[in-house]
């Protein structure tokens, strides 16, 4: 039987500066570094109640962890890692990789398409039709067959090439790859480490949204707060955008399951003790850890390609409804960024550049202005970060800040963050009532499963505005634009 979490010591968390809370070493046994939670008093109190702070402390026990075990303001109780967690380990010092620090939906992320369409002039009168067309075109829900079914060789190419494979088949445009994190292809993918089952699960699923909290939204730019950054991203008030949230589907789920089993067993045999078994880990330099990282990168490529293919379906649906050629809609990709990934990155720790394995579990990479990895058009303004709100509430486009590098290994929040269980959310309101309420507020909805709609109700989430403003206050990212929902497709 595994050890229980939460052997709390005598020390308590304390606020060390506005919006920054420290969880001191000793909060749980075996912490190697402190925990640092970026949160307002209210958000922090929720994280404490939720036991997520205990999970921040548990992550601080990972071998080789440096700096601190960080958590973003959208923190909530996860399974092993908290959601909103960021942890970096020093590879040369025996630092570990933990599949639980990435999660089962490897490479899950968000992409935002802009457009030349104006809400009032072009879309408002047609939004119902648009949502219906999107609902017809975009496979969603648990059993959805994808837009681009693959044979085994096709899956393998996607695992290695990411968005390059569908691009090569005429899906999307070159600029789409440039506007993705990692240029649309995560290097170092090893498809040989992806199991037959993962191949089988992935083959029919490329270009499908999936279920749970995955969604596609037609949105309107409601407010621009940073004009130069918004200009670089092609955003202006009143403009129609589309945000979509999806991941690596069965490929990622199976890959995590397969490798976690190996790493759990071997980690235990090697005497690596973790306070929660889902934190199972191995030193990055071990072959089994390398195998996981190769498979994880392959699954991340599947996730990138999945969102790429979905975006193509979105453009076609717009073209069909508006009766205009897709190329004339200006539906360019603003950015595509993952919030479930581990990456080997160079960062300065204690005055020395080191190669770190940075886990972001429900957290987003946020490179500040001037970073060499940014596409040219974002070099001056910083990396776009796409932050979905809950269904029916504002979403945000942020830009990475230079201070994020020192604060939390160039990371920021990933969304609103859940605030209550699905069970409780369903008890508070039926799917039908929520549908009526949201439609009364002018949001057009399509759901794969109406019964489950209220699991994702706005009241089940934290206030996305409070989350992004906290990140701004501590210098992780700044708000560029606020988007309001007009049409929602639930996975």
């Amino acid at each position: 039987m595994s050890e229980p979490t939460g052997r709390r010591g005598a020390v308590e968390p304390r606020q060390v500066e506005p919006f920054v809370w420290e969880v001191p070493v000793g909060y749980v046994e075996g912490m190697r570094v402190p925990g640092v939670v970026f949160a307002s008093g209210e958000l922090f109190a929720r994280a404490l109640e939720d036991r997520a702070v205990e999970q921040v402390a548990n992550v601080a026990t990972l071998p080789g962890i440096v700096g601190a075990s960080y958590a973003m303001p959208d923190i909530h109780w996860g399974y092993g890692f908290p959601i909103g967690g960021v942890a970096a380990t020093d590879v040369a010092e025996g630092g570990v990789v933990s599949p639980g620090g990435v999660g089962f939906d490897i490479g899950c992320g968000v992409r935002l398409l802009r457009s030349d369409l104006d809400w009032e002039a072009d879309v408002r009168a047609r939004v119902g039709e648009l949502v219906q067309a999107l609902a017809r075109r975009v496979p969603r829900g648990t059993g959805g067959k994808g837009l681009l079914p693959l044979d085994r060789a096709g899956v393998e190419r996607v695992l290695v090439e990411g968005v390059r494979h569908p691009l090569g088949r005429g899906v999307g445009v070159e600029a789409d790859a440039v506007a993705c994190e990692d240029g649309g292809t995560v290097g170092g993918a090893d498809p040989a480490q992806v199991s037959d089952r993962a191949y089988q699960r992935g083959a029919p699923q490329l270009g499908s949204l999936g279920g749970g909290n995955h969604f596609l939204e037609v949105q309107v730019v409601d407010e621009v707060r940073d004009r130069p950054a918004a200009a670089a991203m092609g955003l202006r008030p009143g403009q129609v955008c589309v945000m979509l949230h999806s991941g690596s589907r069965g490929v990622g789920h199976q890959t995590c399951t397969d490798h976690l089993k190996v790493i759990d067993r071997l980690g235990t045999a090697l005497g690596i003790r973790v306070p929660d078994r889902q934190l199972a880990c191995l030193p990055v330099e071990r072959p089994e850890a390398q195998a996981y990282l190769g498979a994880m990168r392959a699954a991340a490529n599947f996730a990138l390609a999945n969102r790429h293919v979905l975006a193509d379906g979105v453009r076609r649906a717009f073209g069909e409804v508006l009766g205009r050629p897709v190329a004339g809609l200006g539906m360019d990709l603003v950015y595509d960024v993952s919030h479930n990934l581990a990456k080997l990155e160079e960062h300065e720790v204690d005055g020395r550049r080191r190669t770190l394995c940075v886990h972001r579990k429900g957290a987003t990479r946020a490179l500040g202005p001037g970073h060499p990895e940014l596409p040219d058009r974002y070099r001056e303004v910083g990396q776009p970060v796409i932050n979905p709100g809950s269904m029916g509430t504002f979403s945000y486009v942020l830009a990475g800040e230079e201070r994020a590098e020192r604060r939390a290994f160039a990371s920021t929040c990933h969304g609103a963050g859940r605030a209550m269980s699905r069970t409780r959310a369903r008890k508070l309101m039926s799917g039908a009532d929520l549908r009526r309420q949201l439609e009364g507020e002018g949001v057009v909805l399509a759901a794969a499963n109406w019964k489950l709609l209220s699991e994702e109700a706005p009241y089940a989430y934290k206030d996305a505005t409070a989350v992004v403003e906290t990140c701004e206050r501590v210098g992780l990212s700044r708000v560029v634009a606020r988007l309001r929902p007009a049409g929602v497709l639930k996975g």
Binding site: M1, F104, L260, K261
Partner: protein
């Protein structure tokens, strides 16, 4: 997803219990979690506790909705043999549930209508799961995987208790 949900229709399943009932009474309950969902299963034997945990998973998947699994007899379905090996009871349970999830997805999300666990040893669990071949696919919450988070399988009073969280 109420505590003490009934599990009619599964031949090997007794009605589920709540925490206040004797440990040896077989049953399961779903545990609240901010983003995911847990299953607490009890049984007189390890085999029974594995069965109950599987029924908990099946309920989350929506496989045991009223009217789907007729009470009073085994429903029509395809019985698939399941066998997993792992280093301890906890890992066996996680592997078992993940195996059921794989079989479920490979059958276009066919509803789980019955489960029988024949034997659980220190490193092996074997039995079978029956998937509906006639009814509609399960329409509950999609489950990505069973996790090791706060995983427990152990003796509890006169019986066995397991707790496992599912990533949904």
């Amino acid at each position: 997803m109420a505590r003490g949900s009934t599990t009619s229709g599964a031949p090997s399943a007794a009605p589920s219990s709540t925490a206040s009932e004797p440990a040896a009474m077989a049953g399961f309950e779903l545990l609240a979690h901010t983003a995911d969902v847990g299953v607490r299963a009890r049984g007189a034997t390890l085999e029974e506790v594995f069965e109950q945990a599987t029924l908990g998973l099946a309920e989350v998947l929506g496989a045991l909705a009223p009217g789907r699994a007729p009470p009073g007899g085994p429903p029509d379905g395809e019985r698939v043999a399941v066998e997993v090996t792992a280093g301890d009871h906890g890992a066996l349970l996680v592997d078992w549930l993940n195996e059921v999830l794989w079989l479920h997805e490979a059958r276009q999300h066919a509803a789980v209508v019955a489960v029988r666990v024949d034997q659980v040893t220190g490193d092996r669990a074997a039995g079978g799961v029956t998937f509906s071949t006639t009814g509609p696919p399960a329409d509950g919450t999609f489950v990505k995987a069973a996790t090791y988070h706060q995983l427990r399988v152990g003796r509890d009073g006169g019986g066995w208790l397991a707790e496992v969280y599912l990533d949904v």
